[in-house]
Symmetry: D2
Subunit: 338 residues, 4 copies
């Protein structure tokens, strides 16, 4: 961290500030006196140094963080890719493309089973399905809850597909004991109490980026979980909020190569939520794989028009089957398998 002091500070003031930093943050401080400014360089682990607090000092003009504030998630300290292995042996982040698919919300045994069988046939290796649904309106369908998770597990038995579902509160953790991957939705990316509890679990977490969260904030949320012990994190970009209204959100495709550079964690894309439009799922999926994504999470519904939530963006099983064929072509061109 580089700290530029205001002009014409006395030597005593500079010396006092240096000592304050050394003691408060347990870092070394290198002082450099230039022609018209004094620059301090902080040496050591600056991840706990609060930029805002530094800026609040009368003596300080500018602060520039040079080191990233995340450690466990940082590729610098962990150069190899994190590979997550599920109970059935499926590997995530091993250089190939993992396909997750399923309905937005679990609605009935028939529905989730039918979708599960069809997406498996088309190439999906993990089944998604919402039991607890974060809905903007209190009057909208809120998900089947615990019963939804039961149906999802039944579909796992029938298909052999590991399952992923979204958690909305730490109080639901006991219900998720048997779920293969726990998903944290965009609206809960900075629900720090939930993140802390997930840090104590021994289960992979798929962490979605918030609608207006920066890449650094996403990594800091991963760091929350990792710093408590759970290092099995999958990051997921699902569109950010911009002024453009043709798509529900704007898929930040650059987030893939940027995250792959900054962190060793697997990076997934959710083209269904990013666009909100079924006909965009295929081209965005192909783009994501070409940009280096480790996986995709796609909504598929056997009857989108009758879906209890988010039907507008769901693919039919047939459309999904066709799209996977085209996505596979890109994966193959990248030397990867789906």
């Amino acid at each position: 961290m580089i700290i530029v002091l205001k002009k014409r500070e006395s030597n005593t003031a500079v010396e006092d500030f240096k000592k304050y930093l050394e003691q408060k943050y347990n870092v070394g401080v290198h002082v450099s006196v230039g022609y018209d400014s004094v620059v301090l360089g902080l040496i050591g682990d600056t991840s706990a140094v609060d930029e805002e607090s530094i800026k609040a000092q009368e003596i300080v003009q500018e602060v520039k963080r040079v080191q990233e504030p995340y450690k466990k998630a940082n590729r610098k300290f962990h150069p190899e890719n994190t590979v997550i292995t599920l109970e059935n042996g499926l590997k995530i982040g091993d250089g190939n493309v993992t396909l997750i698919a399923g309905p937005c919300s679990v609605e009935s045994e028939e529905q989730v089973t039918e979708v599960a069988l069809s997406v498996k046939k088309s190439g999906a290796v993990i089944l998604r399905g919402g039991a607890f649904k974060p809905r903007t309106s209190p009057y909208a369908f809120q998900g089947m809850g615990a019963d939804g998770l039961k149906l999802l597990k039944k579909a796992r038995v029938k298909t052999g597909l590991p399952i992923i579902s979204e958690i909305m509160s730490a109080s639901q953790l006991s219900l998720f004991e048997d779920v293969d991957i726990i998903q944290v939705g965009a609206r809960n990316m900075q629900n720090f109490d939930l993140l802390k509890e997930l840090g104590k679990q021994n289960r992979p977490i798929l962490l979605k980026r918030g609608l207006s969260s920066t890449i650094d904030e996403l990594l800091m949320s991963a760091e929350y979980i990792m710093s408590r012990g759970n290092e099995q994190i999958i990051l997921c970009e699902r569109g950010i909020r911009t002024f453009e209204t043709k798509t529900r959100n704007t898929l930040d495709i650059s987030a893939i190569p940027v995250l792959k550079k900054l962190t060793h964690l697997p990076v997934f894309i959710d083209p269904s939520h990013a666009s909100g439009l079924p006909w965009l799922v295929e081209p965005l999926s192909m783009a994501a794989v070409a940009a280096g994504a480790d996986g995709l999470i796609i909504e598929v519904h056997n009857n989108p028009a009758k879906a209890l939530c988010d039907g507008a963006q769901s693919l039919t099983p047939k459309a999904f089957e066709n799209s996977v064929k085209n996505i596979k072509k890109i994966a193959e061109a990248m030397g990867k398998t789906i």
Copy 2:
């Protein structure tokens, strides 16, 4: 709700769709056949009608919501301003300006008491103080927790000021039993599980707008709480995320008159978090009052440079005293008292 159908749909298809809508949502449907399009008008309570689901229908070209999706928060159905009365008789939303002030986080008995006494003297009528702090970094100070709430209550005894503090999870509710106003932070605005629990409380809630939440979404989150029975909500605009970097966030000043038109709930502004800069708190507060805000929530610290969090944006007690004088001039010009 107006639904425009695609061209050249058969009469049977239109009739089937009409019946589907009537049964699923319990609404009336008026069909209007134009030259080159069929338009359906939904009659009755459409708040539970899911736009996304309607858009997913093959037959549909466009959907336009005419009625707002919130009811309890809607000024149309509740024209008079909601006035909230605290235990000590203080009224919020009665046409005057309520001043909340205090430290970002409670750090010690001396600190919170000193700040409380000074802000009271300057004109604040409610004391704020964070006990549980939502921090981007897991390595940053996370607040004093339950002990912080105890110190805040001590300061209430000493000053007579009602207190407000931020809750981060429904599991903390028992600790907040005695807190006068419960604050929901921007990052938890769509933590729907928390909102549902707060809907069962008999205590005023100050609900902050999320960093990238629309005004409609803020109102829908208020509706979550209100639909469970608790109608004592204070809305708070605290800056939204844009491309501008001179300020930490961009204060959406228009949100004040827009919200005052759409809802009967009191509207507050947090100029400290909106700007992140202490010298902007005064002009933004003055602007907020001039635009019709019902209250302000301002960070004050007796030693900003030593604050354990967000010191950069805190006013000193002296600066706060001076700012209140100028803010009062605007309130007076508006015919209001602070």
Copy 3:
């Protein structure tokens, strides 16, 4: 266009408004009286109807445009892709991927020739080079001007590559007489006076999307040019402005399939300006081709560190050569050639 009137308007008022619309805009108006609202449907060409003006009418509650406001650029009225043929026979928009490359700004004969020869060898078929540079600072290098164009033409003679360069004002048109494709930069996307003049030219125009322009606005700017007679337009997405700071702008990858659906014009991507970082050019290019882009425009400099502008985002000729190999793999997977 659907217009929803306010409740309880008199029949006379509705009839008067109907006549006003018919006369002012030369459209048919279909009136539909519902239970609690009157809906008007406008029939005919509504592209000249001003939504804002309609909204200003006392009688109007809501307006919803159903028809797109652009005609010449609209795929509905021109289903086949527009294919642009340059003088040397090169086709743009014919289903393959066109590669444009070259330095941000022309700096010397040696520089532009060296870069031109190398990018041609790697697969570029058009040479880019800035002569007039739109720079944020008046103190920054503003381009070589007319001399730069001369050097660019010399490089064309030596390599046989058609050339593209950015125009900044209609007063420069005579200098661009011999330039194969005229580029309109993001900052001039709504310089309507320039667009009108370009509409009279018989030369292809590459029109870049503004930093905060919507897809509809980009199409309306194309419509400005087309409505004056010049229908040879290439659209170019080059990143939009968001809150994310890891990349200079956020590449809106969804704009490719969305534009391909809405319009028959070719769609290009500029990964260099979108990201501002050389190591992102390759993955973003691959993603763009996978999402269906018709072409790429990439900055290449023989000595990025010494470039007079935007060096930070330029590829070296060697890096460009390597990237093209990987981009070609994606094109091949799509059944296209570069």
Copy 4:
């Protein structure tokens, strides 16, 4: 400017880079060798130093600009407020609030005269009126052009009010010879060729902030004009583009105090374009004055429903009269006159 070099660079490489900087930019360079990084401090005038170019150097890790890149517009080098005096003696930026009002576009002699007389009576001291209109659609009314300017001048004769109108291209300059203040619209804020020409004029320029332009970019555009000799610039915030759709744009109220701190130029607000809604003009104007704005530019039309452009956001003369009364109360509370 502070430049942080990558770790473990050789002394020779550092020395070479130091010489390169000194020669290219004519600045002094102070080298500071820390524990694990080398930091360079640039001394002297760094406004011409291109950050992007510095970042492109292999040796560089981070760049931080400490000095602002604008000089003429910078309050540091010109602490007193710029006061602009029009021919009729009217002063702008002298600590009071200047009221500009008039129709979006000039439509007829009757219209502009009637509006001019009424806004003058209500307190406006400058008349606005568009002759050349930047419209998103080529099919929308483009303004009366030269004839519109003539009518505006006639209204000036009748009312004695100085006039302001928007220029769209340097080729129109001769038509604006007699216009008191030349306006540059948001879409032309970075039309650098136009800015350069305006720098040679001896007339005040009202420069509007672009829809997605940062405060620094606005100041750099002012610097373009000032660096050519014309230092009579009025800056105008008119709303930026965000995700919120309740208002046409989001008024960045913080821009007022931020600009007042950074520059000595007068700062105006355009509440009509910022909101797009007539009922928001009054509260936003009051907020702007409370935040320290030097002036307001407001759209008034004698028949908004019949306006040829932007009628939706225009006030009637009567509404304007009432609003001015309330705005004056705020100005008085600030110790200013309107």
